[in-house]
């Protein structure tokens, strides 16, 4: 018995020894593996860095080229002399109107849809149809939304090119983003909250309104602000429906047309009176738009982390 154990140990010892020798013999293979390991690590790191780099390059390029154009006058004045001079105030205002209008329209519908899908609906053909609709909506190119808005809101519903038509078009485009953000936020609310509430004699709606929604609110608002910032930067959906090339008056009602920042940049860069001359204005406008969008994202991030800490 004992001899058998000793034999096994001996055998194992020889095995270990031979393995050690082999390791020594193939020292180079270890080195090669380490090199490959580091190569892949670097590849992934570079891929990740490209994201940050892209942002830094875009922002610094715009800042370098655009910062001279930005002044207090630039922000509060209207364009002058066939848009070759002056400011961009009407465009900033128009963009704010359009994107806020889009959210006013899209937020209630988006949240309500997400509540229906996540809290009420049971697996059915109807639900599959709704999901298909949302996913398709998310994949439709923005220019198609623009054309749809023109055909439906501006012409069929006789809204003309107006804040309301532009807002509705942008709103429909934002719906999938808001719905999926809200759905994610609702899913992250633990079921034990729902059970506790129902167990106390609350109705389903009371449970949603008093427990589920407040808990999901940070996620919903973050998703909404991100949707808002995306809507603010879109050109295609508003170029036929809400924004115009140039208008001398500021809007006085939701049925007025407006100028908008993204469209203004597009116009100055492709169809202006003097494209080369207005380069600084283009960079300045682009910088302002970028700051608005990044600012909204920043608000979303700060707000979310603040609510999470609570």
């Amino acid at each position: 018995m004992n001899e058998a154990i000793i034999d096994t140990l001996k055998l194992e010892y020889t095995n270990i020894k031979s393995v050690n020798e082999k390791v020594l013999l193939f020292k180079d293979s270890g080195k090669r593996r380490r090199t490959i390991e580091q190569l892949f690590f670097m590849m992934f790191k570079v891929a990740a860095m490209i994201n940050g780099l892209a942002l830094i390059v875009i922002v610094s390029y715009l800042v370098i080229n655009g910062y001279q154009s930005i002044s207090f006058e630039f922000l509060i004045e209207a364009p002058k002399e066939s848009m070759t001079k002056g400011g961009i105030f009407p465009c900033i205002l128009g963009t704010l109107y359009l994107s806020c209008g889009a959210i006013i329209f899209a937020l209630p519908i988006g949240i309500a849809s997400a509540i229906y899908i996540n809290e009420y609906a049971v697996q059915s053909r109807f639900l599959n149809f709704i999901r298909l609709g949302i996913n398709t909506l998310a994949g439709v190119p923005s220019i198609v939304f623009g054309l749809f808005g023109l055909a439906f809101f501006c012409i069929v519903l006789k809204m003309g090119v107006s804040i309301i038509a532009g807002s509705l078009t942008l709103g429909i485009m934002s719906l999938p983003v808001i719905i999926s953000a809200t759905e994610e936020a609702l899913k992250s609310v633990p079921d034990t909250y729902r059970e506790a509430s129902l167990g106390l004699g609350a109705t389903k709606w009371q449970t949603i309104y008093k427990v589920v929604l407040p808990t999901a609110l940070p996620g919903i608002l973050t998703g909404t602000i991100l949707a808002l910032s995306r809507a603010a930067g879109e050109t295609a959906p508003i170029m036929f429906t809400g924004a115009v090339f140039f208008t001398q008056t500021l809007p006085t009602s939701i049925f007025d047309e407006v100028m908008a920042l993204p469209y203004h940049i597009y116009v100055l860069a492709t169809a202006g009176i003097n494209i080369e001359l207005t380069r600084p204005l283009q960079y300045g406008s682009a910088l302002v738009l970028l700051i608005m969008v990044l600012g909204m994202n920043l608000v979303a991030i700060i707000y979310r982390s603040k609510l999470r800490r609570k």
Partner: protein
Amino acid sequence: MNDFFKLTASDVDFYYGDFKALKNVSLNFIEKEVMALIGPSGCGKSTFLRCINRMNDLISGTRVDGSIVLDNVDIYNDRIDVVNLRKKVGMVFQKPNPFPKSIFENVAYGLRVNGIRDKNAIAGMVEKSLIQAALFDEVKDRLKDSALGLSGGQQQRLCIARALAVEPEILLMDEPASALDPIATQKIEELIHQLKKDYTIIIVTHNMQQAARVSDKTAFFYMGELVEVNKTDTLFTKPEKIQTEEYITGRFG
């Protein structure tokens, strides 16, 4: 004859889809008694508990046959209002699950959703419930603080206070101490002794000592069937069925 019992379950079958989780369970509950439901995992004791306040309705693809009668009303009757049933049959869950609200708002929640608006009445009920749940002294100076800052044991007593605030008649407890340390567990058990003066309590537990300590009667479930029910002392000292004996002596489960 039913007048004698607070709650009567007769021939209850329960299905999760095709799986039959409860088979022909009949069990009677006397008012202001503590009934412990014991048995190995998956034996159906929690499923049965959740039938009593129709919490299983929330799971799609489930079905109940047989009847559960509370105060002479079949709770699976079509005309029953589930919301009112759950007001009458409170529930405490396995893991403490206070809402992410203040301590006060957690207890006031059930009152508010049931339409009580009077602030003084709510404050009075909150205090009374916290006292009943033996938590008031620990939290009276920080009722406005978040409930999530309490310890696990305090959170569970808060959940009990929350359930008591709506003045239920029956209290269902689904392994209320399984996520708690021994000292917190002891407090919950002492609390159960206090509460049975006013409430009919049905408690699911994995811990047989706990069942022996807190309950008047014990029901042993195995594979979806009710094997045996008796006075707790009798069931633990002179079990009638061989399966019960094997389980309580630790030979399986």
